[in-house]
Every structure is written in structure tokens, then in C-alpha cells.
Amino acid sequence: MTQLALVIDLNVCVGCQACVTSCKEWNTSGTAGPMADMNPFGKDPTGTFFNRVQTFEVGTYPNTETVHFPKSCLHCEDPPCVPVCPTGASYKREEDGIVLVDNDKCIGCKYCSWACPYGVRELDEHQKIMTKCTLCVDRIYDESLPENERKPACVNACPTNARLFGDVNDPESEVSAAIREQGGYQLMPEWGTKPANHYLPRRKARITIHEDELIRADNPLRKERHLPMPDADDPTLDETTSW
């Protein structure tokens, strides 16, 4: 069974918000739109977004690290938002696992947004219906687009390639390999929602160096000298010959 999803690499994301704007740009004129901005030039502007990039700080200064964290619907494999919907407007597609809201059925009761632990559903103030990430369902199957553009708008927009898109149930896919090999994890596993989207953690390459490895113990000249050994800061053979 196919389960399309995003894999977001927090090691690479620089928090540039390109995915946020490209998502809004594509979807506001797509089948899920319009994503209304209320009061755009007024005192309290507010708008609908399917994707937000947030920033977190880990640790205490000066040992801190900044984590940019893109957040959108995770297309859970066991989505709590679907069974609670009284109208059936919220549903999960059998064929590719995308969770969608049917614009024509939603009554705007907001119950699904309560049931989602992640706060990724937003009620559109203009249409008065629930909206959320569609994984660009109106784009990824569009054969009029060149093949490499048949991906969610956010994936295409990301300048650092922090967003991967594919079938997480296919063990051979790029996303599955990334999850498997680079420590992909799910958000809030405690609620049993089995999010399809995964995140790749911040990774650091570290090597362990022992003190004796810093000394040129392999210098043959030193080795053959009579004991006691010369001081560590005495010039080595390399250093004497290279100048």
C-alpha cells in the first residue's frame, strides 16, 4: 500500500521559508484554495497556511544550536482527525495515503483540528472550512508538468534539498532509505498516530582522537634513538628536513 509522505532533514533546513511561500502560492490558486489572508494590511493580519517553519533553540548559551522546524500535516497512517469528522469531509485516500478535506462537505465544526495533536489544520476564515496540506495532490499526478516537477511545491522550492518526497512504504524509495539510514523519526509517537512524514535529526560527524595519536609516535628516527625519548616539542625529522 502506497503512503506518500515528506521526509524533512533538520540537518539541512536553514529556515528560509521558501517552502512556506511556495506552498501558499501554489495552493491558494489550486483546488484547496483560496487560502485567505484576512486584514492583510490592517492591524491584526491573519492568514491560512498549510506549512509553517518554526525555530527552536537547543541548549543554554553559549552551547546552543538552532533548529529550524518545518511543520505541516503529517498524513498519519492512523489519523485521529478522520474518524471524528461527522460529515466524512476528512478522509484518507486508499490509493496513496494522503489525508484530505472535501471542501464541499466540510461544515467547519473544527472537531478534526481538536483531534489532531500537531496543530496543522487551519480553519480558513474566508471559506469557513477546514484546510490543510494536500501534499499537492493536484500537482503530483499532473501529467502536463515535466516529470521532475511532479512533486509538492515545497519540495521543489527548497534551496537546500531539505525536503524529500516519496512512498514511505516502499523500502526501495529514497525516503525510506533516508529514514532507515539517517535516523528518521516521527513526531509525538505517544499518541499512536503513526505519522507518515518523518524528520531526519541534526547530525554531527565526530571522531574520537586519543592523546597519543597527536604525537608523531610513528617517527622512525625517534623510535630508533636511545632512551630517554626526546621532548615532544623537539623538532621531528620531517620538520628538520622540510625547511
Partner: protein, 325 residues
């Protein structure tokens, strides 16, 4: 959670309406067995069920105000297999219809005897309809409570106490209203109904106190660590990704100051329990409709505060993502 007044009015009004109907019907059942005096069908049963119906209709209207697209409300009966909200949407009109039918039977005095037991007591049509109404009333309490109790991650709500509280508060306020009504219209029912109203209020105090204690001890299962998947004891949000409000900052935060929050808590504890208990006892003793009505109204206002607090206290894990502008 942000307390929505539409839902606060919906749950308190229909709760009282259900309770009132149950009180009227209980009186009728007891009368069949000659335990309580028979009441006037038009003046008591029909008028009483009309009041219950008005409460239910008011609740229903208020629920429509909650919807973004009320004109599509009919669609919400579709998913009764999985959604408690859908079940409520079905049970509420069914219950209203039953209450209306029950009242109408009494009003028209059309009440054929269906069967009788060896000539001692007879079961007539309104008894049967009333029994159906009783089942539906309890089913409705269950649906209303489960709408909240079934959301796992709202830990303050996810307990059987939620259903129990909704039921008991509905019964208490409904029976209180019935007591006041019986004092003005009925005959010899005040002690019986008033006794049950007081009993329900006291039990509700125990279960609500239990849920307050439970909630005070809750440990949130989600932390910022599980929310973003970083294991560190010191995590802090620096930006939520936008500077002004969004649906997520409006719907899930109550926005009241800690002082107001505490004030509402003590307000409801006062207005739902001791004040109406005192007023009701005095009203029963003095057979004063005014006092009994005051007891009901005080408790109803208290229940509005209780519901506000019920929403405000629930802490949604999505709030972890919206801590800093």
C-alpha cells in the same frame, strides 16, 4: 482550549432540557405505580415538555452558531459509525421529536392503554414513548460527554468522569427546574423532585471534584522534546513562524489571565453547588417557586462558568508549537 460560547450554551441548555424531561417522566412512572399523585396532563406534562423542548431548541440554535457552514449541517449525520459528534447530531433531533410526541400525547389527551398487568396498573402509549425518550436522553448525555472524552491527547477530558459530569450536571439542573415547575403547576411532587435535584447536585460535586483533583495531577504526555523530536532538557521556541495570530493561536488558547482562570473556577464551585443547594432547600421548605427558580438560575449561570473552565483547563499538545511569536 478556547471556550466557545456556542458550545457552552449548547451543552448546558440541552443538558437541562434532558434533565427536565427525565424528571417529568420519572414523575409519570411513579404515578402509574401510585407512589406519587397523577398530574394534570396539559398543565403539567404537556407544558413541562414544552419547556424542555424550548431548552433543546435553544441549544440546537446555539450549536449552529458554532459551525462555519451551518447550511451544510445535515451532512453531519453521515459518520455515526465513527464520530461521537455525528451520533449526537442524530440523537438530539430524535430526542427532541420524542419529547414533542410525548408532550403532544398528553396535550391531546390521546393516550390509549396498550396493556395492563392483571388490572393493577396499565402501560399507556405515553409511557412507552417516554421510555424511549429516557433511553435517548441518556444516550445524548453519553454522546455529548464522549465528544470530549474520546480525544486522547486532551488529557483533561479523556476520562469517564467527563461523561459522568455531563450527565450529572444535566440531571441536577433539569431536576431543579422541574422542582420549581412542580411547585407552581404540579401537585405533591416538590419533595420528590427536589430531593433528587439535591442528590444529583451532591453527587456531581463529588465527581467534579474528582476530575479537578485528577487534572491537577496530570502530567502532560507530550513535551517540546517529543513535539520536535530533539532530546535535550533545555529546549526553547524562538519563533512560531508568523507574527500575528492564526487559527492555531486562537482556537487552542483561552487567553485569560491566571487570575480570571482561578476566579471562574471558584465562581463555578460556588454557584453550581452550595448556593443552589441552600436556595433549593429553603425553596422546598418554604414551597416557594421564586426561591426554587433562583436556585435553578444560579446553578445554570454556574454551569456556564463550569463549562468555560472545562474548556479553558484543557491543554492541547499543539500549544507546544505556539509558545513564542
Amino acid at each position: 482550549m478556547h471556550p466557545a460560547f456556542s458550545v457552552i450554551f449548547l451543552t448546558t441548555l440541552i443538558g437541562a432540557g434532558q434533565g427536565l424531561f427525565l424528571a417529568l417522566y420519572t414523575g409519570q412512572v411513579y404515578a402509574v405505580f401510585d407512589v406519587l399523585p397523577v398530574q394534570d396532563p396539559v398543565n403539567f406534562y404537556a407544558l413541562g415538555s414544552l419547556i424542555a423542548l424550548l431548552l433543546l431548541v435553544a441549544g440546537l440554535i446555539s450549536s449552529f452558531l458554532h459551525l462555519g457552514r451551518p447550511e451544510r449541517a445535515w451532512r453531519s449525520a453521515a459518520r455515526w459509525r465513527t464520530s461521537w459528534l455525528s451520533r449526537e447530531v442524530i440523537v438530539l433531533p430524535a430526542f427532541m421529536g420524542t419529547v414533542a410526541a410525548w408532550g403532544l400525547l398528553h396535550y391531546l389527551a390521546w393516550n390509549p392503554l396498550l396493556f395492563s398487568f392483571r388490572g393493577t396498573f396499565g402501560i399507556d402509549l405515553s409511557m412507552v414513548i417516554g421510555a424511549v425518550g429516557t433511553l435517548l436522553a441518556f444516550a445524548l448525555y453519553l454522546c455529548t460527554g464522549m465528544i470530549y472524552a474520546c480525544i486522547k491527547q486532551l488529557q483533561e477530558w479523556a476520562t469517564p468522569l467527563t461523561v459522568l459530569n455531563y450527565t450529572l450536571f444535566g440531571l441536577a439542573s433539569g431536576f431543579l427546574l422541574a422542582t420549581a415547575f412542580a411547585n407552581s403547576r404540579g401537585a405533591g411532587l416538590v419533595d420528590f423532585l427536589g430531593g433528587w435535584a439535591i442528590f444529583a447536585t451532591v453527587v456531581a460535586f463529588v465527581t467534579r471534584a474528582a476530575s479537578l483533583i485528577r487534572n491537577a495531577r496530570l502530567k502532560p504526555k507530550s513535551t517540546l522534546g517529543t513535539a520536535i523530536g530533539v532530546r535535550h532538557s533545555k529546549l526553547e521556541q524562538k519563533s512560531q513562524g508568523f507574527m500575528t495570530g492564526s487559527f492555531n493561536t486562537r482556537e487552542f488558547f483561552h487567553g485569560a489571565s491566571p487570575r480570571k482562570f482561578l476566579f471562574v473556577k471558584w465562581l463555578f464551585l460556588l454557584l453550581v453547588f452550595p448556593v443552589p443547594l441552600a436556595l433549593a432547600s429553603a425553596g422546598i421548605a418554604a414551597e416557594s417557586t421564586g426561591l426554587l427558580l433562583a436556585a435553578f438560575l444560579t446553578q445554570y449561570v454556574g454551569l456556564l462558568a463550569e463549562r468555560w473552565f472545562f474548556f479553558a483547563q484543557a491543554n492541547h499538545p499543539q500549544n507546544l508549537y505556539y509558545q513564542t511569536v
